[in-house]
Amino acid sequence: MPWTPDQPIISLKNVHKSFGQTEVLRGISMDVMKGEVVCIIGPSGSGKSTLIRCINALNDIQGGSITVEGQELRDPKLDLLALRKKVGMVFQQYNLFPHKTALENVMMAPIKVLKQNRAEVEIRARALMKKVRLEGKEDAYPGELSGGQQQRVAIARSLAMNPDVMLFDEVTAALDPETVKEVLVTIKDLAAEGMTCILVTHEMGFAREIADRVYFTDRGVIVEYGPPQSFFDDAKDPRTKQFLSQIL
């Protein structure tokens, strides 16, 4: 059955994930529709990163199912490249390639992986640099850029693959408070354009502002979720309440 946009673009059903003996995800279910922005919050070690990494198959799962645009990730015939084209990911530590300039970082995957024409890729890459407000920094090496600038290059690098979904794993956690904003603005632009986004974040104000839904995870399960308004102002579960009272 082919996927149509009225079905969830990402669907997790009863996902279980273990590292050896320790079960990190213990039955996670969630549906994300195209164009939605979903925020995941929760205490450290609750499995947020693991969850998000399962969605682009950086981690495999031991139980349940994950589909991206209808494609089951546990299918042994899964086309990994096709999946990674659809799902972009940005990491807390930027992970730019330090031996390449900012522009080359953005151009690398389309040229090396998708074998696209270099000249066309360069035009798109320059446009992306502009989009993340880094015009003029094309020839800088990652080491010469601030954390916020590096993180925006990392976003542009992911966007160069033309993904349908973007995953953000605490992308502002390693940044100075002043530079957090410039990255959040970039993500907000993306969300406004209709990009499907799944964000792990500790920026509650930001989550409240852009999320369609907020999920609270603890010890590998989703404790509670809902639209930001009711989630933040009217949490039901005591664990959620306690977490929110600590962080807000």
Partner: protein, 286 residues
């Protein structure tokens, strides 16, 4: 007690100390370009001095004249040493990078095999490896009706490239493992295969780290090239022996070998210096 340190005073507050002789590590104090130069001069004086005295007695040429006369031949032979070292280094480097990459293969069979090969050649005496290559490789190999001759010096190159390969393999393994795992993950999330990640992202980043030990290895290899004289290759040591027997002068022995040492020193010392400089530069950056 150190008189410069007063209780309660942080060393930060003390005036900057001048660099003292005692600050330089013993190794650097004993072995540097000045002591090497002084030793050379001392050797030359003791070796050549008496020969001047003899030169007055007998109508023989002076040692310096003889050395000077032999210089073109020595230069040519030394050039052969350099050629052997460069070729062995090139082959060993290519093989070593490949072997190093296999040492971090996700397949444990391949990883273990590459590790065994690396350890075997890294812990074998170079001379024994040379003998083995001379003995095992035939004089010529016939491939598809074409016979390729294998002169002794090519076998020697192969023999010397084996330990280079093994050392290089270890350097590469260390360098690859030192690249943060985030590089692998971000490449993976961008759709790079393992091979593409290795080629386009990981290996280019190992160059900086591997360059200093690689250059050091080259200097060591160059100094090991006289070994090939033992297996009958006409390099600088063989030539020296030939020269000595042609001149048949006992007093030539020490100055001649000293002269050869100078050649090696002048070739290898700049490499070592540059290596040290690169090491210091990169150790700050990385």
């Amino acid at each position: 007690m150190n008189p410069g340190r007063i209780k309660g005073h942080l060393p930060v507050l003390l005036p900057a100390r001048k660099l003292m002789l005692s600050d330089i590590p013993l190794h650097d104090r004993l072995f540097n370009v000045w002591t090497a130069g002084a030793l050379l001069i001392a050797f030359l004086v003791t070796a050549i001095g008496p020969s001047f005295a003899q030169a007055e007695a007998a109508p023989a040429r002076s040692i310096l004249t003889i050395l000077f006369e032999w210089t073109p031949s020595i230069a040519k032979a030394f050039g052969f040493n350099v050629l052997i070292s460069i070729m062995a280094m090139a082959i060993g480097t290519v093989l070593g990078v490949g072997l190093g990459v296999l040492q971090v293969s996700p397949r444990s069979m391949i990883r273990r095999l590459a590790w065994i090969v690396t350890q075997f050649f890294r812990n074998s005496p170079w001379l024994v490896l040379l003998f083995y290559c001379i003995l095992l490789i035939p004089f010529k190999i016939t491939l598809f009706g074409m016979s390729v001759p294998f002169p002794g010096w090519i076998k020697a190159v192969i023999g010397l490239s084996l330990p280079v390969m093994a050392y290089m393999s270890e350097y590469m393994r260390g360098a690859i493992n030192s690249i943060p795992s985030g590089q692998w993950e971000s490449a993976q999330s961008l759709g790079f295969t393992r091979f593409q990640t290795m080629r386009d992202i990981i290996l280019p980043q190992t160059i900086k780290r591997v360059l200093p030990p690689w250059m050091n290895l080259y200097a060591v290899l160059t100094m090991a090239t006289p070994l090939v004289s033992i297996v009958g290759v006409n390099e600088v040591m063989s030539l020296t022996r030939a020269a000595l027997s042609a001149e048949s002068r006992v007093d030539l022995l020490i100055p001649m070998y000293l002269y050869i040492l100078c050649w090696f020193f002048l070739y290898c010392y700049p490499i070592s210096t540059l290596t040290g400089r690169l090491e210091r530069r990169y150790s700050v950056k990385l």
